[in-house]
Amino acid sequence: MNLATFLVLAALAAAAGLAVRSIRKKKKSGGCSGCCGSCRGCH
């Protein structure tokens, strides 16, 4: 694989990592997985 491919892949992997971390955080705090934006019940 050439450099460009590697970099793009790395960028994607980083984005995926951030996504997973964000989901984990949400799960810990409430159990709503970023569901809705209507969260008046998620007090």
Partner: protein
């Protein structure tokens, strides 16, 4: 040493608004009773050592409802340093009724008189000094909505906490005071002196939850004797005696404040309600409003913007630009495919519906904030009662129109366990925000934006709830009388543009965030599974791992008209997040040769579905099991066993309905009698039987048991 200030007051009195103003957290203000049972805490702005505890809105401190129990357990058990009692000035007597109870707890009390602007608009005036004198505690005028004097009220509460002077209980009539005095003498050896009055009253009321250790049987017998003697003398039961006395006192207090006993004024709200909840117009108006909400957001305003996002943004702008970039830097083909067909194709498909969602949420936020939603519960109550639910069950469903998770959590406020279960099972039949892209996609791609498709999604959900209610209530598991329903109707008010925009923005942000996380990951995974076979060679979609997996699942859905593996897989990914159905479609169908024009994938889809199978697919996805997050919420409320039952029922129900839709829809066109049609007829017959069969009354069981003895 930290100071704890408790916020107590009726529901809808502005307590949450005040809490937000004092602590700076931006939480939503709900118009509905019972929206919070969780306790909320916050640090008072500008005071590092002062905590504000927001208690659930309660009308009283009886031992009967969840909210009241939570509130009083905190007030009696954890004893805050001061209570800031928010009183709705436009509703004095009923609010002061609670105040008389708070004054008995042996804690310093400060009253914050809210909604003074409403009173002034009605031409009323309040003698704050007079009220303060009569109550024996400080009274501060505030407007929580406008943020006026909120800090002063908090500081008054801090002063009261530091002074440590317990509030003085109100005096009732002599006979009652005499009785209470006797009981107080009997209980005071066993409780903190400041709470002697509180316990005396509770014991007099025979309150089931107020228990003091150390009261011997002899003493309890004496107390009982005192109570009975008082009841005989007054010819009324103890609980009623106290309640009456409190309201008598509340009326006196209201007079002291210059507001004589409430007259029956006809306000603008009442005039609106005259029409909106009338026998003749109520339901048609409700149906029309919900129709308009969905029609406007999906089929008109939203469509224009979505078309632009799909055709232009994700059609002509982004994909070619990204492709151009990737090609120019020499990125590998497979990676290009992942980025373009997988991520952008999938996430882009979902994000395309953002405009429609924003419009929908704006409209729903308006209905919520102005107070109309409560009226719907009022309207639906009788309808729900026919199958044993109360209007209170409808509130979680209204919340569920945004997201099912808080809707299911809201079922906590339903005390009756059976009702709570039934509500939790049916709440997700109402389309949530995440299902909206599915509705919009099918309406747009497969029905060419027909006006009736999206509103029908909502009404089918309501019908599903009603039918499920009828069916379940006839089984022994759910039969039983409906819960009591006593509910206040707060006046209508025009929501501020600012609050509407805030709601809309928050929801849009959450949606985008979800797209960038959950959906992004899911689409990448789907891309991977449909690009490779089990030997990890790159293949066409039809030979991929996903096709193999889908191929196992697909035949199950063939009777429903969509036995294509792509449709089956997309429905499956809906379990992670409902938006994924659209995202997966974007990846799978957009993968066709001409993937430059984003709208192309709509065309590809149209080749796989007929009108009947498309609608069947839509309804299946709307009614079947909700996303994992919602299932998790159901599990937290009902426990593992009932969750399985719920999910199983939902999938079965969805399957049956989708089957009938497809078979009858196809029959209408082909007039061909097929085995599938026969199956649909059987299912329909069974369904009808379940609906109309006589109910299993629980009494019959008792009769049989009695007869057997």
């Amino acid at each position: 040493m930290g100071i704890q200030i408790a916020l107590a007051g009726n529901p809808n009195c502005g307590k949450t608004t005040l809490f937000n103003a004092l602590t700076g957290s931006s939480q939503h203000v709900g118009n509905w009773p019972g929206v919070t049972v969780e306790k909320k805490e916050g640090r008072l702005r500008g005071h590092a050592d002062v905590t504000v505890q927001d208690l659930p809105g309660v009308y009283s401190l009886s031992p009967y409802t969840l909210e009241e129990v939570v509130a009083r357990d905190y007030l009696v058990g954890e004893k805050p340093d001061a209570i800031l009692n928010i009183v709705d000035a436009s509703n004095l007597e009923r609010n002061l009724y609670l105040t008389t109870q708070l004054l008995e707890l042996g804690v310093p009390v400060v009253v914050a008189l809210n909604m003074m602007d409403v009173v002034r608009k009605q031409g009323g005036v309040i003698d704050v000094a007079g009220l303060s004198r009569a109550l024996g505690c400080p009274v501060v005028e505030i407007s929580a909505l406008r943020g006026e004097h909120c800090v002063q009220a908090a500081e008054e509460a801090i002063r009261a906490a530091q002074a440590g002077q317990a509030a003085k209980p109100q005096r009732f009539d002599d006979a009652l005071e005499d009785t209470l005095g006797q009981i107080e003498a009997l209980v005071s050896p066993c409780c903190p002196p400041a709470q002697a009055r509180w316990y005396a009253v509770k014991y007099f009321e025979r309150d089931s939850r107020a228990k003091l250790d150390g009261l011997t049987d002899a003493v309890q017998a004496k107390i009982e004797a005192v109570i009975v003697s008082a009841e005989d003398a007054a010819d009324d039961d103890a609980e009623s005696l106290v309640t009456n006395a409190r309201y008598v006192r509340a009326a006196v207090l209201a007079r002291a404040a210059g507001r004589p006993a409430g007259q029956h004024r006809l306000t603008v709200s009442d005039r609106i309600d005259r029409i909106v909840t009338s026998r003749v117009f109520g339901f048609p108006i409700f149906a029309a409003i919900m129709f308009l909400v969905y029609y406007i957001s999906i089929s008109t305003v939203g469509t224009m913007m979505t078309d632009w996002v799909n055709d232009v943004l994700f059609g002509e702008l982004i994909p070619p630009a990204v492709e151009g970039f990737l090609v120019s830097v020499g990125c590998a083909d497979w990676l290009q495919s992942l980025v373009l067909d997988g991520v952008i194709g999938g996430v882009g498909a979902v994000l395309g519906f953002l405009p429609q969602m924003m419009v929908l949420f704006l409209l729903l936020a308006f209905l919520e904030d102005c107070g109309y939603m409560v009226r719907i519960a009022f309207l639906m109550d009788r309808l729900f009662r026919r199958f044993g639910l109360s209007g209170k069950s409808f509130i979680p469903m209204l919340i569920g129109m945004g997201c099912g998770v808080p809707g299911i959590m809201a079922t906590r406020t339903i005390e009756n366990e059976r009702d709570r279960r039934m509500t939790a099972i049916t709440t997700t039949f109402i389309p949530c925000g995440a299902k909206l892209p599915i509705i919009a996609l099918i309406a747009g791609a497969l029905f060419d934006g027909a006006w009736w498709v999206s509103p029908s999604a909502y009404f089918v959900g309501v019908a599903a709830i009603i039918c499920t209610g009828i069916i379940l209530k006839k089984t022994a598991l759910f039969a039983g009388d409906p819960a009591p329903f006593v509910m206040e109707l707060p006046p209508y008010h025009l929501p501020t543009v600012k609050s509407l925009l805030i709601h809309m923005w928050e929801r849009a942000a959450a949606f985008v965030k979800k797209a960038g996380t959950v959906i992004f990951l899911a689409c990448a995974a789907i891309w991977f599974l449909q690009s490779f076979n089990f030997r990890l060679e790159m293949v066409n979609a039809g030979e991929s791992m996903l096709a193999a997996i889908g191929g196992v699942l697909a035949p199950v859905f063939a009777p429903l008209g969509w036995g294509d593996w792509r449709a089956a897989v997309a429905a499956l990914t809906g379990l992670v997040a409902k938006e994924n159905v659209v995202g997966t479609f974007g990846v799978l169908f957009g993968f066709a040769e001409v993937a430059e024009d984003g709208a192309e994938f709509w065309g590809t889809m149209a080749q796989v579905f007929t009108a009947a199978s498309a609608y069947s697919y839509l309804i299946f996805n709307l009614l079947c099991a909700p996303c994992f997050a919602a299932i998790g919420a159901v599990r937290r409320e009902l426990g593992g066993k009932w969750t399985l039952i719920a999910v199983g029922y939902q999938c079965l129900f969805a399957y049956a309905v989708a089957l009938c839709i497809y078979q009858y829809g196809t029959f209408a066109v082909t007039r061909a009698f097929t085995p599938g049609l026969a199956a649909a007829l059987v299912v329909t017959a069974a369904f009808v039987w379940l609906l109309v069969r006589p109910a299993k009354r629980p009494e019959r069981k008792l009769q049989r048991a009695a007869a057997a003895e």
